[in-house]
Symmetry: C2
Subunit: 428 residues, 2 copies
């Protein structure tokens, strides 16, 4: 498939990807578009012209909205029909309905440089899992020693917790350094102040499609039909606040000040060629056999390369490019998105269109593959060297973090773009 | 103030209360009403007739909606103006605009028996605190022994966690017994099945009013301006699922299958006469002095009587009334709603109109005042006797639990009504 627009095939935003997002321009309010190279195709315009429609008689418009929720709710058959139709409309060899319609092209195709991106969905609930074995092992080793690193439940179920939906923000949103209670001295009372141990977490998240009614679990083999697509997630974390507050009910204010996501939702279908077998679950691999409700026959893992880059104020002012401080891959996740969703709903909990579920920090086995500064600097004991002689343990004001992701295999590339955020000083 | 409608002044639903809710009838879709005795006053009708309006030129209607969110967002000055106006309109001595308008009365005043109640708000985020010292002590004693009962952070901050918003349901909704992983035998692998330790938690919750922008905390002395009103909360809990899953990230599927709330939101203003000093916080009382951001000068506590009643299938079929198994009071909370909200936002986390924040289980000092079966039966070791010779440790299928609440002082009564739910058998 060759697009009729002039785009660089190596950017990962060709016709094989076509991620969905919500954008606005100086002239138009937020609406749904797909990204093709350095362009955004305005689906609200195409829908209003009858060039793209969702199948089903009498269907209400779904793209002239400030969120993807209505489209997410329609399910995989509709997603696939729209995706195929878009590939046909946007290719040199396909339908001329857009390609040869000069006025429509003018209205519907917008340079990426002219748009503002918004959150892709109204997120009803945000759940964060903890599905990378190496990350859980690293954190457990630091806090409880290597022999008790993994908790007894970890290999039996995808451990997760409810996150804060209100503070999920789109890439580019500044992050104000949070203040809160910390207890730096074991023998003194807690103190209040700006977090000194501000960190990131490199994660992959997915948006829920149709979802389920309360009391009606989604079986693991049907879960993929409820996964609309994927984004990069930076689960900003204040380690000092988190450490003091989290017993016994889990992370709260150490996380809820901000969670950033990338604006383009890569469709589940675009990632199908990058499905690979994950780490075996079962006795042959020395792992517990999952309980039946978690047994998945399809390949569980996604081969997506991920990177963490850091740009300090000095680097920015000196014109130095962001420095990549870690490279990881989503194959480092032990529990799959389908297993996460099946587990989440097995008690009858209802998932709704637009719910966001993130993987937890994705860390590999070597130090340069860890997805947090907590791990990369081993609790701050091993600072990272940066260009210009700077070093970092945790984040300083002015630092900008950029997470990026791309799936690449047999010459096919599917890009996630990036999620970035800059640390602003505490207000208290 | 005497209402012009014939109501029983002892029910707690007089003009001093006027709780808000969302109701529908056979003829009308969900809209906002206030309860007066055994009647509902339809505010959408009054608003459309110009009899009740929210102050502010060009204000959009807020009552012809299926949620209170738009009204909650307007803040305490508007709430107070509307409340005063309603008291005037509904009293014998006040405005005749409704009292003497026969046709309007016919349309706007609906018998409670003819309405269906709905969730009062679209809940963006639901947070559950853990603010009863006796409850935290009881649970801690059971799991860690009396010397380590309270965690070190408990007296320094209102411990809380993010709950699941999607599964918050209105009173009367059945609760399907959840299934999930449990580990009844320490030396055997986990098993999957219906929860055997199904429990309740007796809580009081509040709805957030205007809320705050991301990065801009709500100071404790301003927090009451962001608290729209209160409801009863039953935080259903599957103790066996919870026990296996909750380390280290907190409760998840042990709670997320359902949380029930009462339909009528008692306005913060209606509870002002029931504000009392809480347990002293500070050295004189042998408690840690709260950090400045948590120091509250106004009385922190609410004198609201609470009760837990249980009705088994046999009792229901035999015509036996629900048996009260516990009585508690909201003064058993150490941390106030204002402290909870100030703490929740101190890191910059944004609270939005319609967010729900619950207190955590409210337990008093004696056994009959505990707010959960876990505590009432001390982990199931001391069954409760019921009429007809039945006993209970945890909930059985068919059991109906009814939580009720009322503030009463100097002849003034403000009722919360009740929140109920019946356990249905597991589907798996």
């Amino acid at each position: 498939m060759t697009p009729f627009l002039d785009i660089d095939p190596d950017t990962g935003f060709g016709l094989e990807n076509l991620p969905y997002g919500v954008f606005s321009t100086d002239k138009e309010p937020p609406r749904v578009g797909v990204r093709l190279g350095e362009f955004v195709v305005d689906l609200a315009v195409l829908e209003s012209h009858g060039v793209v429609g969702v199948p089903g008689a009498g269907r209400q418009p779904v793209f002239d909205k400030g969120s993807l929720n209505a489209f997410m709710a329609l399910g995989p058959d509709v997603w696939e029909a729209v995706r195929s139709h878009l590939q046909e409309l946007l290719s040199t060899e396909g339908s001329p309905a857009l390609r040869d319609a000069a006025t429509l092209r003018q209205r519907a195709i917008v340079p990426l440089a002219n748009v503002t991106m918004h959150l892709p969905a109204r997120i009803g609930d945000y759940t964060d899992f903890y599905s990378s074995r190496q990350h859980a092992t690293n954190v457990g080793t630091m806090f409880r020693g290597p022999e008790n690193a993994l908790m007894p439940n970890w290999l039996h179920l995808p451990v997760g917790y409810h996150g804060r939906a209100s503070s999920v923000v789109v890439s580019g949103t500044d992050v104000v350094r949070p203040s809160g209670q910390q207890k730096p001295d074991d023998d003194a009372p807690p103190v209040f102040g700006p977090s000194k141990l501000l960190d990131i977490e490199l994660e992959l998240g997915f948006f829920v499609g149709p979802g389920n009614a309360l009391g009606e679990p989604i079986p693991v083999e049907e879960a993929s039909r409820h996964i609309f697509g994927f984004v990069l997630v930076n689960d900003w974390s204040a380690r000092d606040i988190q450490k003091w507050e989290y017993v016994p009910l889990g992370p709260f204010l150490g996380k809820s000040f901000a969670t950033s996501i990338s604006p383009w939702v890569v469709p589940t279908a675009a990632l199908a060629p990058f499905r690979v077998e994950g780490e075996p679950q079962g006795a042959e691999a020395g792992n517990p056999e999952p309980l039946p409700y978690l047994r998945q026959s399809e390949p569980r893992s996604l081969d997506v390369d991920l990177a963490v880059a850091l740009e300090t104020t000095a680097m920015r002012e000196g014109g130095t490019a962001p420095e990549i401080v870690a490279r990881s891959n989503a194959t480092n996740l032990y529990w799959s998105p389908e297993q996460q969703l099946a587990h989440h709903t097995v008690n009858g909990c209802n998932a709704r269109p637009g719910d966001l579920m993130a993987s937890g920090t994705i860390s590999g086995e070597e130090k340069g593959t860890y997805g947090s500064f907590l791990e990369l600097t081993w609790r701050g004991s091993e600072p990272i060297d940066l260009p210009g002689g700077e070093t970092r343990t945790f984040l300083q004001d002015g630092d900008r973090v950029v997470l990026s992701g791309e799936a690449s295999r047999d010459g096919r590339r599917v890009g996630f773009g990036e999620v970035s955020g800059t640390i602003r000083p505490s207000r208290t």
